[in-house]
Each structure stands twice: as structure tokens, then as C-alpha cells.
């Protein structure tokens, strides 16, 4: 008993010593660099934004996870992923994971090789750090690797009493096995099996035992996991939380990280003897060599290490910043964050600093332009498409788009449509906090407080959103009419008051028609109820312009007078000029002035086209040069079907 306790204390002491040693010997400032890099360059809150890992402090969430193979690790991984909502916490978690990976790699490889292989631990650490620069990174990669190495540590701690520790290590690994995707799982298992087998082969002279260990560690965890799923405990399926497309580069990094261990274990085991001989030979030769440079000052090992570390960090920095950091992914996540949090000014700044192409970019930019009062003036400064202004109900079930769609309907005053979209998405969105918060908002605006309270109470279980939800709940208690909330009052004032039965009436007799949702009626309805509904108005006119119906747009422009305007903004003025040139009745602009420069520009545009005998295709290169950012060019492209 005492003996066993003594061994345990020894193990603890060794771990403590290793930690202390790591802290003093140079790893610490590598980790500090890593933390700074994460916080300033990667910004973990963008990882949270890109992946939105689900998590709730409820039995309903935990139970199905914990009952399945790999569930514990998955639960832990999802919990840790919540820390990403704060960049500091997210960085801290990853730094801790990197530290553990470094320490345990050192010990595991030392056990496999029979001697410490200095510096080798930096390889997985570096790979892990590079992986952390990817916004599509698998969130469970860190916990999975730590769990795998933890199982190796347990195996090693077993020593002679392997029988005691082996099941524990197995259990530990079964917990990890189900949590990974198939490839990651097999790589992690291969790493575990190889490391343990190498260590076993070194500890005993019986190769059969090493083979047995290898087979057991490689095969038993998935078999147990599969058996568990057969028993209905949990599906044995890949479970990376990130549902979006993962880049190949991230996949390679993950394979390199997990594949490092079996390769390294075999290498260091196989090369242990030659290496040792080589080291020994070097040492002997050095001892026999006359002290030729005795007069010179020799570099101390500490300084050499410092130099090496500086070089490593420099290399890492270069790699991280130039090669592995997913700048486009980061920008996309940042713009997504701005769009979902209503930070339109920042979004515009980010978009102008570095153009980024993603599905919703133009939609977001249009929304930001509207918020900043620039839509009517500068909407053609960005490349537009007919469908980039309004999202529709048949927008694919992609979470980011659905949340924007709900926001769009809330802003238009179509609360019932927003509710429809949110509920339909919620059944697939796994209680996503963005959806829950929007649902609560819809019911707050619609003055259905009990329903709002339900979704706010659900948000209390979310670690990231609970503060927001608690504040809202308190607000309802104190001020049930929400008179003190100007934003809610504003949105209440633009609620649709007239039931236009948009869904049914227009296409009741043509159910095969599925185009009702892009009908301008989505915008015209709110405008009928609230003639001064600025968003509905600006979007309606812009919608007609983008749809290639400038005459319809021009027919609506007279409403600008309701908003106290006397002149047409630039983009709309261009549309009005095109409309005035169209055959048929001339639109009534109610005396709204068209800027002289715009008129001249249009005249020049027509002259250029005329120079090419009205052949738009031939004139297009010149038009693109001279009329970039104008509605004229947009129309030219549209007419050419581009």
C-alpha cells in the first residue's frame, strides 16, 4: 500500500518537476509568444464565430453526449470551445493544451526511445500552434491529442502493475475514440498504440507483448465504441462540431499533427541505438580533440538554446503569418461577427480594407451601406447581383444566412416571417444562441413576453449568452412594456399592421409557383403600412434597380420627398436616367433633382456606346474602365447576361 502510494507520489513529483522545468527552460516564452499570437492575430472569438460550437449547461445536452463513446471528451471539447468567445480565455486554453502536448510528448517519446530526445516535442507543439491559426480547425484536436498522450502517460505510469492501469488507459482512449472523425481517430489510436508498444518493447524483452499492446490499443477502443453504439448509447460517427467546409490545408495540418507520433515513435525507437552510438562517438572524439580553441570563449548551452528558440520562433512566426493563418477565413468570420452583431461601420471598414468573397458578402455590405445611409448613393461601388439585396425563405439551411434572413424580416417589420424562419431553422440549429436570441427578440417586439421569457430562459444555459439573457429578463421584470428600450419601440412602430397573406393569396391557385418570397411585395407590404419605413423604401427601389426594372424603381422614387429629400442620390439618379430613356410612360420624379455630373456621365456613357455602334459587348472593356461603380455599367452587364 505504502509502496503504491510512494510510486504515485513519485509520479506526481515528476510531473511537477517537469512542469517547473518547462516553465523555466525556454518553453515558457514560446508559449507566451503563442498566447500573444493567438490574441492579436488569430483572435479566438472569430473561431467561435466561425464555428459556433453548441453547448448548454443542461441535462438534455449533456446526457446524450456523456452516454456515448467519446462523449466525455466531446463534452469537454465543446465546453472549452465556449472559452473562445473571449479571446483571452480561448488563447489561455490553447496555450495550456500546447504546454501539455509538449510535456507529454517529451515523456512519451523518451519512454519509447529509452532516452530523452531534446527538441522533438517542439514539432507537435509547432504543428498544433499552426493548426490554431485556422478558423476551420477541428475544435477537439487539442483535447483529443492531450487525451491520447494522457493515455500513454497512464500506460507508462503502470510500470509492472500494467494490469491496473491498462484498463484505465483503455477507458481513457475509448473516451477519445468516439470523439474524433474516422481519420483523426485512427491516427490518434495509431499514435497511442505505437508509443505504448515501443515503450512496452523497451521495458521488456518480449516482442510478443509489444505486439499485443499495439493490437489492443489500436483495435479495442473502436470496437468498444461500436459496441456501445450498437447498444443504442450513441452513434459512432464523426463529430467535429464544425459543419462548414474544411480546407485541405487544415486537414493536412491535422494529419501531420496526429501522424507525427507513430512516425516519431518508430524512428526514435529504431534509431535509438545508432543515435546513442553516434552521440557517444561524438563525445569521445570531442574529448580526444586538442583544445584548439581554448583561448576563445565557448558559447554556453543556455545561450545556444536561446538562439535555437529564437530561430524556432522566427520560423514559426514566418510560417504562421505567411502560410498557415487563414486570413480569408478570419476576415469572413470577422465580417460575419459584425453582421450578426449589427456593427455595420466596422463591417464596411473591413470590406474596404480587404475585399473578401463569400456568399453573403454583398448582402452584408448592402445592409451596412443602408445602415450608414449610403445605399442609395454608393450601392454600385461594390459588384452587385440581382439576388444580393434580399435573402429569401428558400435560402439554404446555412445558419449564418438564416439568422440574417430573420434579422432582415425583423428590420422590415415582418415579425411573423422572422418567427417562421427562426423556428424552421431552430429544429436544425441545435439551440443555436443566435437563433434563440432572435426568437426572444421577435417575441419582445411582438409584445409576447411569456414566449420571449421562454427563449431567454433557454439562453441562460448558454455560458456565452447567459449574461445578455439575464439582463433582458431583468429588463422585462422592471419594465414589462419595454418603454425604456428605444430599439424595441422603434421596431414595434414598424410592425406590419395589415395582413397581406403573402404566403397564400398571390399564388393560391398556382401552388407550383415558388417565387413569392422574392416578390417585391415583401417590401411593398411594410411600406403600405408605414409610408415612412425607410428600409422598406430604400430596399424596394434598390430591388427594382438590381432586378433590371429601373422604370419601376423610378416610379417609387417620388417617396423620397416624404423623407425630406429634394435631390436623388447618385445611384438612384443613374437609375432614373436609364428609366427616363426607356420607351413607355415617363416616370414622375416629383421634381427631385438629378445631379449635373451624373447627367453628364450618362451622356458620355451613351456616347461611348454609340461610338461602338451600340454594340455593348464591343464597348464593354472601355465602359468597365470609364464607368466602374455606376448603374450604367451594371445595366450593361445585365443586358449582356453577365
Amino acid at each position: 500500500m505504502d509502496n503504491r502510494r510512494g510510486e504515485l507520489m513519485d509520479t506526481l513529483r515528476r510531473a511537477r518537476t517537469a512542469l517547473a522545468a518547462a516553465a523555466v527552460r525556454g518553453d515558457s516564452w514560446l508559449l507566451v509568444w503563442f498566447a500573444v499570437y493567438l490574441m492579436l492575430m488569430v483572435e479566438p472569438y472569430l473561431i467561435y464565430q466561425a464555428q459556433q460550437p453548441p453547448f448548454a449547461m443542461t441535462r438534455e445536452f449533456a446526457q446524450p453526449l456523456l452516454l456515448g463513446a467519446g462523449g466525455l471528451l466531446r463534452y469537454l471539447g465543446l465546453f472549452l470551445a465556449q472559452c473562445d468567445a473571449s479571446s483571452t480565455l480561448g488563447a489561455l486554453v490553447r496555450v495550456c493544451e500546447a504546454l501539455f502536448i509538449g510535456l507529454m510528448t517529451d515523456r512519451a517519446l523518451a519512454a519509447a526511445a529509452g532516452r530523452r530526445v531534446p527538441g522533438l516535442r517542439f514539432v507537435p507543439m509547432a504543428l498544433f500552434m499552426l493548426l490554431c491559426g485556422r478558423y476551420d480547425q477541428p475544435l477537439l484536436a487539442g483535447p483529443l491529442l492531450v487525451a491520447t498522450l494522457g493515455a500513454v502517460m497512464l500506460f507508462l505510469a503502470g510500470g509492472r502493475r500494467l494490469r491496473v492501469y491498462l484498463p484505465l488507459a483503455m477507458l481513457f482512449q475509448v473516451a477519445a475514440a468516439g470523439a474524433a472523425g474516422p481519420l483523426s481517430m485512427w491516427l490518434a489510436l495509431a499514435a497511442l498504440a505505437t508509443l505504448c508498444a515501443c515503450a512496452a518493447a523497451r521495458a521488456t524483452d518480449r516482442p510478443g507483448r509489444a505486439v499485443a499492446v499495439f493490437v489492443v490499443f489500436l483495435l479495442v477502443p473502436p470496437l468498444v465504441a461500436m459496441a456501445a453504439s450498437r447498444c443504442g448509447l450513441h452513434a459512432f460517427a464523426p463529430s467535429w462540431t464544425y459543419a462548414g467546409p474544411r480546407s485541405r490545408f487544415t486537414g493536412y495540418l491535422l494529419i501531420a499533427l496526429l501522424g507525427f507520433y507513430p512516425v516519431a515513435a518508430l524512428l526514435v525507437t529504431g534509431l535509438a541505438e545508432p543515435l546513442a552510438r553516434c552521440w557517444q562517438g561524438l563525445a569521445e572524439r570531442r574529448a580526444q580533440r586538442p583544445p584548439a580553441d581554448a583561448g576563445r570563449r565557448r558559447a554556453r548551452p543556455g545561450e545556444l538554446r536561446l538562439l535555437g528558440n529564437v530561430a524556432l520562433v522566427g520560423l514559426l512566426s514566418l510560417l504562421a503569418t505567411r502560410v498557415t493563418v487563414d486570413e480569408a477565413g478570419g476576415q469572413r468570420a470577422y465580417m460575419d461577427y459584425c453582421a450578426l452583431h449589427g456593427q455595420w461601420r466596422k463591417l464596411l471598414a473591413a470590406a474596404s480594407a480587404r475585399p473578401v468573397a463569400y456568399d453573403l458578402a454583398t448582402y452584408d455590405i448592402n445592409r451596412a451601406l443602408f445602415d450608414q445611409g449610403l445605399l442609395a448613393r454608393s450601392m454600385f461601388a461594390v459588384p452587385q447581383r440581382p439576388d444580393s439585396l434580399l435573402l429569401t425563405v428558400d435560402t439554404p439551411y446555412q445558419l449564418a444566412a438564416r439568422v440574417r434572413l430573420a434579422d432582415q424580416y425583423i428590420d422590415l417589420g415582418r415579425l411573423h416571417l422572422a418567427e417562421y424562419v427562426l423556428h424552421n431553422t431552430l429544429v436544425m440549429g441545435d439551440n443555436n444562441p443566435f437563433l434563440l436570441s432572435r426568437l426572444a427578440r421577435v417575441y419582445l417586439i411582438d409584445d409576447r413576453l411569456p414566449a420571449a421569457r421562454l427563449y431567454l430562459t433557454m439562453l441562460l444555459d448558454n455560458l456565452v449568452w447567459r449574461r445578455w439573457a439575464r439582463e433582458r429578463l431583468r429588463q422585462i421584470e422592471v419594465d414589462p412594456s419595454l418603454n425604456g428600450d428605444p430599439e424595441i419601440q422603434r421596431l414595434r412602430s414598424i410592425r406590419l399592421t395589415e395582413d397581406d397573406l403573402l404566403f397564400i393569396n398571390r399564388y393560391a391557385d398556382r401552388p407550383e409557383q415558388r417565387a413569392w418570397y422574392i416578390d417585391p411585395e415583401v417590401l411593398a407590404g411594410p411600406l403600405r403600412c408605414h409610408p415612412r419605413h425607410r428600409m422598406a423604401f430604400e430596399y424596394l427601389v434598390s430591388y427594382f434597380l438590381l432586378a433590371g426594372r429601373p422604370n419601376f424603381a423610378a416610379a417609387e422614387m417620388h417617396r423620397l420627398r416624404d423623407f425630406g429629400e429634394t435631390a436623388l442620390p447618385r445611384a438612384w439618379a443613374e437609375g432614373a436616367l436609364v428609366a427616363l430613356d426607356l420607351p413607355g410612360p415617363r416616370p414622375d420624379l416629383s421634381g427631385l433633382a438629378i445631379d449635373e455630373a451624373t447627367s453628364r456621365r450618362y451622356g458620355r456613357f451613351k456616347a461611348v456606346v454609340a461610338e461602338y455602334d451600340n454594340d455593348l459587348r464591343a464597348a464593354l472593356p472601355r465602359l468597365e474602365r470609364e464607368f466602374a461603380g455606376t448603374y450604367f455599367l451594371y445595366v450593361a452587364h445585365a443586358r449582356l447576361g453577365q
Partner: protein, 516 residues
């Protein structure tokens, strides 16, 4: 004398254990004289005050919604051991065994619930006691219902579940995945027997079907004609009366309702379980009427149903404007099981008397009471702005329907069902939040007086406050369902994979099931 370090360590550990124990098992309130009295009942979530409860119900776990740092609840009755529970969060979980003992010892008696709360300044408050009455008659042990998210299309989790009312155990009978990802609804039991029931399924890629369960086995049938809707199994076991509805869902864009449904056309049909033959009795389907919601009387000699005049031509696809004027009567038609013949329908509850639309007639097993839901108009109480339950004494000629609760405010009640002893009524009610339905239980005494309804207790009383699921079609059953999920899945397999019939536009619309 000096103590050895070992003894110091042991003393420290003992002290730590004591502190932890003190923290885990906080002391109860001081004696009554040292408490500050509050002259009102405590606020409880759910509202479990002034109820009549079944003697076999699961513990009424609750949350004390009063400010405080510590709570103590004392449950006492004339007979049996007092039950004390202390909590820091206000969540009171009553021990099941002792709760059961207390209830069985006090059938027909009162349960007294005393609530103490310790305020921020450390002073205990004692609220007015809450008294609940334990009924003599138990409720059926199980209730079967549908549970799902309030969605608008055929996605997301949808289950038919059974709940043991004596405990918190809930088991899935069948899930959406097992019916081919489509919809399933209207589980109907034959006289509350767990071994004899049916339900409908509409797989996404298959064909609509009706699954009949008998004992441990199940078979799937496809009655001729349009798919089946609401059903009622004749007590004799041979005949199933069911409605065939052309249901359309639509979404008002303004106003209090965000979704609605209408019945553009409906008829009643009979399915012979033995021969598989479908008949459409002309007596039940006079031209120009919309019969629906069939319900057999317990003796099997009457078929009750709701019926309204059709106010639009049959060619009309979506008669939304007329819905505000559609009001259903409750009618009944005499039935002769020997000849399967129906008499002429007679009106039991007339729309012109109620001023609303009377739907979902359900007769108590003793044949005395008729309970129906009353809405302003239309045939969908679950989506209606107002929907309340009314009770009619069938054995007292000339009696008028009376509401089970005060008429205003509306309770959003629908889908009610009787227990086997005609004393308990379960229904789905959206009274909590107007959006999601929960199951409520209420006692009906021999004179037809209804007690205050209460929501089914949950293991964690906070569950209902954050549960995104809605519940409907609760049906009492006398025991656990005998058929296995595997057997149901096997029976449904052919319908899930069969190629779908070429759908007409109307049928595509029908696939959007209004679920509530």
C-alpha cells in the same frame, strides 16, 4: 501535551468534512415562532396551489419563486410522516417513495404545503400554507402524447412518447426517423388499452399509411381514398371511424396569430379492421357539410362528430376569407353495430347557441359527460386565438355547455382526453406562454365541477420554463404500450420506401402538416 502532525491532519480533514456536510445539508428553518409570517401564499412554479391531485401522481416537484438564499418546504397531512425538503436554489425535489406513501395514506384528504424562505438578511419568512386535496380516484397510469418542436415543415424531432404518471419515466413509442422522416399523428387507442391502438404516418418518400397495433405486433394498412386524419376506434374493436381532411396551413403576416390552418374539405369514413374495407356513410356526409373529429360513445351506439356547413365551392383551393365565418356544431348519429348503419345526425351543441366553433367532442367513459373545445371559428383549436374546454351533461336533458374555467382570459386548451374512471381530464394547453403546449391534468367531480388544472410534474421543475418542445394529442392508457419500437419500425418499413404517388399540388400542400 503536543499533538502529533498526523493527528492535526486528521482533525483538519474531519473539520473539512463537517464543513462540506454543513454546506450540503443546510439546516431547516427555525421554530415557527421565530419566523416572520408573510400573509400570502408563496409564488410557486409551476403553480401547484389549490389543486385536486391524483393519489398516484409523481411528486409535484416545484420551484419556490420567492427571493431568498435558502428554502425549506414542509409537506404534511393528517396521516403519514411529514416530509421536509431544503434547497438553496428554490428547486424542491420531493423523494418519490415518501411522497407515494404520503399520498396513499391520505386519499380523500388534504396535503398541506408550508414554504419557508430565508431572506438576504438571514431572517426566515413563513408563507401562508398551500393546501392541495388528494382525490380518491387515481388517474390512469400512463399518458401517450406527441412531442416536437413548433416547426412549420417536416423536419426536426417528432416523437410519440408514453409517460408513466406515477414517476417521471418517459419512453419513445416511435420517432420521426422510424417513419421515414415524415410526419406521424393522431394515435388513437381502443378504450385506453395499451395493446390496441393506431396511428398515421406520412413518410417523406413513401406513402401515407395507418399502423394498427394489436398486442406485440403491428401492421400497416393503406385504406382506400384520401389519407386518414382524426380517428376513433369503436369499442367493439372492428370498426374505426376516421375523418379525411384536406388541411391547408397558412401564415398570417400580421395580427396575433402567426400560423393557421383550415379544413377545405372533409368527410367521415369507416374502416373495417378485419376486411380492410372502407365505407363512406352518406348519413354522416351530407352534401355541403364538413364533418370531422369523430368520437364513439363508450357503448358504441353513437358516433359524435363536429360538423359545419361548407361556405365555399369545392373547387376553391384556399378559402381563407371564409374561415372567420365557419362554425362547427357537435352532432351525433345513432349506430347499429350489427348492420353498420347510421341514423340521421342530430345536433348536440349548436354553433348558433355557443356563438363559436365546437370541436373535438370526447365522451367520458361513463357516458355522462361530453367535453369539447370552443373556438371563435374554424376547425383548428390548436392555432386559434381563443380555445377553451366546455362540458355538457349528456344525462340531463336540456342542459347547456358550461366552461371548465372562467371564460376570460382564454386558456388555449385543446386535445383533451378522459381517464378510465371519468374523473380526470388531460389536455394540451398553451396557457403558459401562448406558443408551446404543455399537458395539464384536472379533476372533474361527480357533479361535473372541474378543479384547477395543473401541469404534469417534471423531475426538474425548471424544465417547463425552458423546454422548447410542444406537446399534443395526450391519450390516457391503462398500462405501458406492449409493442416494441423495432416491431413498429418493421411494420412501417414498406411504406417508408415505397415510391410516392405522383402528387398533385393540393397533396403537396397537405404534406405541410399543421402541428401546433
Amino acid at each position: 501535551m503536543t499533538l502529533r502532525p498526523r493527528w492535526w491532519r486528521m482533525a483538519g480533514a474531519a473539520l473539512a468534512v463537517l464543513l462540506v456536510a454543513r454546506w450540503l445539508w443546510p439546516a431547516g428553518p427555525p421554530a415557527a415562532g421565530r419566523c416572520e409570517s408573510v400573509a400570502r401564499a408563496p409564488r410557486l412554479r409551476p403553480d401547484y396551489a389549490g389543486l385536486v391531485i391524483p393519489p398516484n401522481i409523481a411528486p409535484l416537484n416545484l420551484r419556490v419563486a420567492e427571493p431568498g438564499t435558502r428554502y425549506h418546504v414542509r409537506l404534511s397531512a393528517a396521516r403519514g410522516r411529514r416530509l421536509d425538503v431544503t434547497s438553496r436554489s428554490g428547486v424542491i425535489s420531493l423523494p418519490q417513495r415518501r411522497w407515494r406513501e404520503l399520498l396513499s395514506a391520505n386519499r380523500g384528504g388534504d396535503l398541506r404545503l408550508e414554504v419557508f424562505a430565508r431572506g438576504a438578511r438571514g431572517r426566515w419568512q413563513r408563507f401562508e400554507p398551500v393546501v392541495n386535496h388528494v382525490a380518491e380516484q387515481p388517474v390512469d397510469d400512463y399518458v401517450v402524447y406527441r412531442r416536437f418542436r413548433p416547426f412549420y415543415n417536416s423536419t426536426g424531432a417528432l416523437l410519440i412518447c408514453q409517460r408513466d404518471l406515477r414517476s417521471f419515466v418517459e419512453r419513445a413509442v416511435i420517432t420521426r426517423d422510424e417513419v421515414g422522416g415524415g410526419c406521424m399523428n393522431c394515435h388513437t387507442f381502443r378504450d385506453r388499452r395499451p395493446d390496441s391502438f393506431l396511428f398515421h404516418s406520412r413518410p417523406k418518400a413513401g406513402v401515407p399509411a395507418m399502423t394498427l397495433v394489436s398486442g406485440n405486433s403491428a401492421r400497416t394498412v393503406q385504406p382506400d381514398g384520401p389519407p386518414a386524419g382524426y380517428a376513433s376506434w369503436h369499442p367493439g374493436g372492428r370498426t374505426i371511424a376516421y375523418s379525411r381532411n384536406k388541411i391547408m396551413q397558412y401564415f398570417p403576416q400580421a395580427g396575433p396569430r402567426s400560423k393557421a390552418a383550415l379544413d377545405a374539405a372533409s368527410s367521415l369514413a369507416l374502416y373495417d379492421v378485419y376486411s380492410g374495407r372502407v365505407t363512406v356513410p352518406t348519413a354522416l356526409n351530407p352534401p355541403g357539410r364538413l364533418p370531422t373529429f369523430p368520437c364513439w360513445s363508450p357503448d358504441g351506439r353513437w358516433l359524435y362528430f363536429a360538423s359545419a356547413p361548407r361556405l365555399w365551392p369545392t373547387t376553391r383551393f384556399m378559402p381563407i376569407e371564409e374561415q372567420a365565418r365557419v362554425r362547427y356544431d357537435i352532432q351525433r348519429a345513432a349506430y347499429d353495430p350489427a348492420t353498420s348503419a347510421f341514423g340521421q345526425p342530430e345536433t348536440v351543441v349548436a354553433a348558433r347557441d355557443t356563438g363559436g366553433s365546437a370541436l373535438e367532442p370526447r365522451i367520458s367513459p361513463d357516458g355522462r359527460w361530453l367535453v369539447f373545445s370552443l373556438t371563435d371559428s374554424g376547425s383548428f383549436p390548436v392555432f386559434a386565438e381563443r380555445s377553451d374546454l366546455y362540458l355538457l351533461d349528456l344525462q340531463r336533458p336540456g342542459s347547456r355547455p358550461v366552461p371548465l374555467e372562467a371564460e376570460s382570459p382564454t386558456r388555449h386548451d385543446s386535445f383533451h382526453a378522459w381517464s378510465g374512471n371519468s374523473r380526470w381530464l388531460v389536455c394540451a394547453s398553451k396557457r403558459d406562454n401562448g406558443l408551446l403546449a404543455r399537458l395539464y391534468l384536472r379533476y372533474i367531480d361527480a357533479e361535473g365541477r372541474a378543479s384547477k388544472p395543473f401541469v404534469l410534474p417534471q423531475r426538474d421543475p425548471r424544465d417547463d420554463d425552458r423546454n422548447p418542445a410542444t406537446y399534443n394529442v395526450p391519450e390516457f392508457v391503462s398500462g405501458p404500450i406492449t409493442v416494441s419500437r423495432a416491431e413498429l419500425k418493421r411494420a412501417l418499413a414498406p411504406t417508408c420506401t415505397a415510391p410516392a404517388r405522383p402528387a398533385e399540388p393540393e397533396k403537396r400542400q397537405e404534406a405541410q402538416t399543421p402541428d401546433g
